[in-house]
């Protein structure tokens, strides 16, 4: 039962914040400063998420095969590789490094 309470609370809360973002009045968003913020916030969030998913293990920072995979993705991006190739490069290199015991 407790689990259902937690699920319900999480579902409501997460839905509410998703909706809140969408419901901000359009007039407010016309203001240049607000536009600038709204454009830069996803950049900050995505950058932080990318870094965390690469270097985080719970609360600890680690340097493991994922970092090699990300480096491969960076190289692929610099070479202007198509999107799927970028992701594939990261996956293959990560698996390869792990297979070699990294």
């Amino acid at each position: 039962m407790n689990t259902w309470i937690a699920i319900g609370a999480t579902a409501l809360g997460c839905y509410a914040v998703k909706l809140a973002g969408l419901l901000v009045p359009a007039g407010l968003l016309e203001r240049p400063l607000v536009r600038r913020y709204a454009a830069l916030l996803p950049v900050a969030l995505l950058a932080a998420l990318t870094a965390q998913q690469t270097f985080a293990d719970g609360h600890a920072l680690v340097l493991d095969a994922r970092a090699a995979g990300l480096a491969a993705a960076v190289v692929a991006l610099i070479l202007r590789a198509p999107f799927l190739l970028v992701v594939a490069a990261a996956v293959v290199v990560t698996a390869g490094v792990r297979a070699l015991g990294g």
């Binding site: 914040v17 969408l22 419901l23 950049v43 969030l45 995505l46 609360h59 990261a90």
Partner: protein, 201 residues
């Protein structure tokens, strides 16, 4: 099993789901666990802020679209130019992810042990690689690069000391910090600290 599936259907924001399950499995109080999961979901509000501009959805549609406002849909939609492409990106990403996420949740709940160790296949590197590929085109100006660099530093630096989900929110502070420094620079010469070169991490 029903609880796992309900979580995917109703919450549909991966990080929050993992946090909730993790906290409950560790024997945490349900409301504390829900609060942690909630913090991880707060960033979706920021995505919504940006998406409501680029998608310009009718008011009546918004409550339905809201459930799909997540990292992946935001990243794909914002990478498009033009409203039509953004809407298509949002719709296609939202639908595919929602269907696949819930199907795979069901499969996982039915018996995941059969699959073995997904990490061995390097699949955990796909997530950050996708985010990186979507982020790269957004890093057009120095301001955006500075925001990304500072966000990486904040996100990683605060990770060991703050509860899960909070470091990413703190990393969002990179945006106001950089805008403030940019404003000062424009007002006159200033010795603002601007991080660059970290965005590829």
């Amino acid at each position: 099993m029903w609880q796992t599936c309900a979580l995917s259907l109703l919450v549909f924001t991966g990080a929050s789901q993992f946090a909730l399950v993790g906290a409950l499995a560790a024997g945490g109080n349900p409301l504390t666990a829900a609060a942690g999961a909630f913090f991880l979901g707060v960033r979706n509000a920021f995505y919504g802020l940006r998406l409501s501009q680029s998608l310009a959805l009718p008011r009546a549609v918004r409550p339905f679209a809201a459930q799909w406002v997540i990292d992946e849909t935001a990243a794909v939609s914002l990478a498009q130019t033009g409203r039509r492409a953004a809407r298509i990106g949002f719709g296609v990403t939202g639908l595919t992810l929602y269907v696949l996420w819930n199907l795979t949740t069901l499969l996982g709940a039915l018996g995941a042990e059969a699959i073995g160790d997904t990490d061995a296949w390097g699949l955990d590197a796909a997530g950050p690689a996708v985010f990186l590929a979507l982020l790269a085109p957004m890093l057009k100006t120095t301001a955006e690069r500075a925001v990304a660099g500072l966000a990486v530093v904040l996100g990683l630096g605060l990770l060991p000391v703050l509860p899960a989900g909070v470091p990413v929110l703190m990393a969002a502070l990179a945006a106001p910090v950089v805008l403030y420094l940019e404003g000062r620079r424009r007002a006159g010469r200033t010795a603002g600290r601007v991080d660059t070169g970290e965005e590829e991490r």
